[in-house]
Amino acid sequence: MINPHRGDFPLLVKNPGLHYLDSAATSQKPRAVLDAMRDYYEHDNANPHRGAYALSGRATDRYLSARERVARFVGAADADCLVFTRGTTESLNLVATAWGRANVTEGDEIIVTALDHHANFVPWQQLAKGCGARFLVCPLTNEQHIDLAALRSMVGPRTKVVAFSHVSNAVGTVNPVREIAAIARSVGALVVCDGAQGVPHLPVAFDSLDVDFYAFSGHKMCGPMGIGGLVGRREILEAMPPYQFGGDMIEFVRDDHSTWNVLPHKFEAGTPNVADAVGLAAACDYLDAIGMENVLSHERALVRLASERLAAIDGVKIYGPPAAERSGVVSFTVRDIHPHDLATIFDEDGVCIRAGHHCAQPLMRRLGVAATARASFYVYSDESDVEALVRALARAQALFAQD
């Protein structure tokens, strides 16, 4: 059956033979998102907050309502606690830099996990190096779940930060956010969750997750590239210093000191990215119309199907937890064929997969592989994509089996 949502995505409509299985890297964009951005530029574009004229007021309103829309989507009742950023990477750097430098000192401990993307690993590693803190990596179980028993034994009175991902982009593990948060809270540590693969693929309610910060990227959830968000607790955001300085984020600028604007502006220096915020809000409308529970079950079904089909092929090894517990990715290797060779061969059949370390080198080292092949699914994927994947794999094996 052809997926009914496929027709909403101009790129997929223009490329009927394409099997786009790299949505964990970035999703395709529905027409509604592209139209919303175009509409903003054609009707309401001006620099928000600054002009004393109606058009600037309209731009300001669109930016404001985009923030409210996106905050609602991630379950944050207080929209001022959603800071727009360039994406997950910038959100996590913001926390590690602004909160981290003000609160982490020599001898403190920062804990990340072996599952984390470099974006939630390196900023903390560098913070630790800079201030003389200890940087600890929480190990995983054999099925690439975060080892909660190990985490419990690692946290202590000096633990200042526990950073982890909601969902692994490399192997699809869905982590028990509240349980991890409770472990971190037991020692009073800051709880930072990388939601880059959470928000696009499952219902997220920030207010009931019990984390202090939650980061995500618009481009992985049908929105444009160049925008994402950081949701934080009001009291923490208010207490911490700004990340960048400049226009919009200030209140008063004296010759010898300055004071800061209120939330969220304090963390949004410079002209904001209104058009992309508008596009991201439209993406939230689009996903809500489908329903995030439906997105989740649709992807689960495809992950299960793909995992079953691939596992039945001789020489295929699949990484991560059992399919029923995984979010929209299937990470695998094939005996005697390197993932990059697979990607090239698949590409000839229009099957786009990712091959490499998925920005998770610490995880790859622990898996004992340099690279895996990864197929990832989204709202527009369907069984025909899985069939194409399996066909392409058979073709690769036949090609490599020849003498």
Binding site: H338, D341, I345, A370, A371
Partner: protein, 147 residues
């Protein structure tokens, strides 16, 4: 032949499965390890240079079929060659994989097994896989250049 069959010719698949000169060279005079951070491929080249001539070479690598086969064929091609001859070979190889020259079947004979890499030019993102060993070699020889 399809583009894919041309890329994954049996010579390339053979060298990938059973690479030549694979392993350690204990009396190497130059060693060089390189890594491609974008894809994680790694190569360790161990070379014995006597005056101006490469008398022996071995490698170990982690990577795709194209990069491993290229390293294997390269080690065969450069043994007994002078630095200048190696530079010349690299130039030829580079023209081949980037599609700057398209040898006729006759001309292809001059390239020896290197000719098997002509199929790479249709896959621009794989040129770096094919060239990795050569870039390592070039850097190693420059490092060890007599002053």
């Amino acid at each position: 032949m399809s583009d894919l069959q041309e890329l994954y010719q049996s010579i390339i698949l053979d060298h990938n499965r059973r690479p030549k000169n694979y392993g350690a060279l204990d009396d190497a005079t130059v060693r060089r390890q390189d890594r491609n951070p974008a894809c994680g491929d790694e190569i360790l080249l161990e070379i014995k240079v006597d005056h101006d001539v490469i008398t022996d070479v071995k490698f170990t690598s982690e990577g795709c079929a194209v990069s491993r086969a290229s390293a294997s064929i390269m080690t065969q091609a450069i043994k007994g060659k002078s630095r200048d001859e190696v530079e010349q070979l690299f130039r030829q190889f580079h023209e081949l994989v980037t599609g700057k020259v398209k040898p006729t079947p006759q001309e292809a004979r001059d390239y020896g097994e290197m000719a098997a890499f002509s199929g790479v030019s249709r896959f621009p993102i794989r040129v770096k896989c094919a060239s990795m060993a050569w870039h390592s070699l070039q850097a190693a020889l420059r490092e060890s250049a007599p002053v």
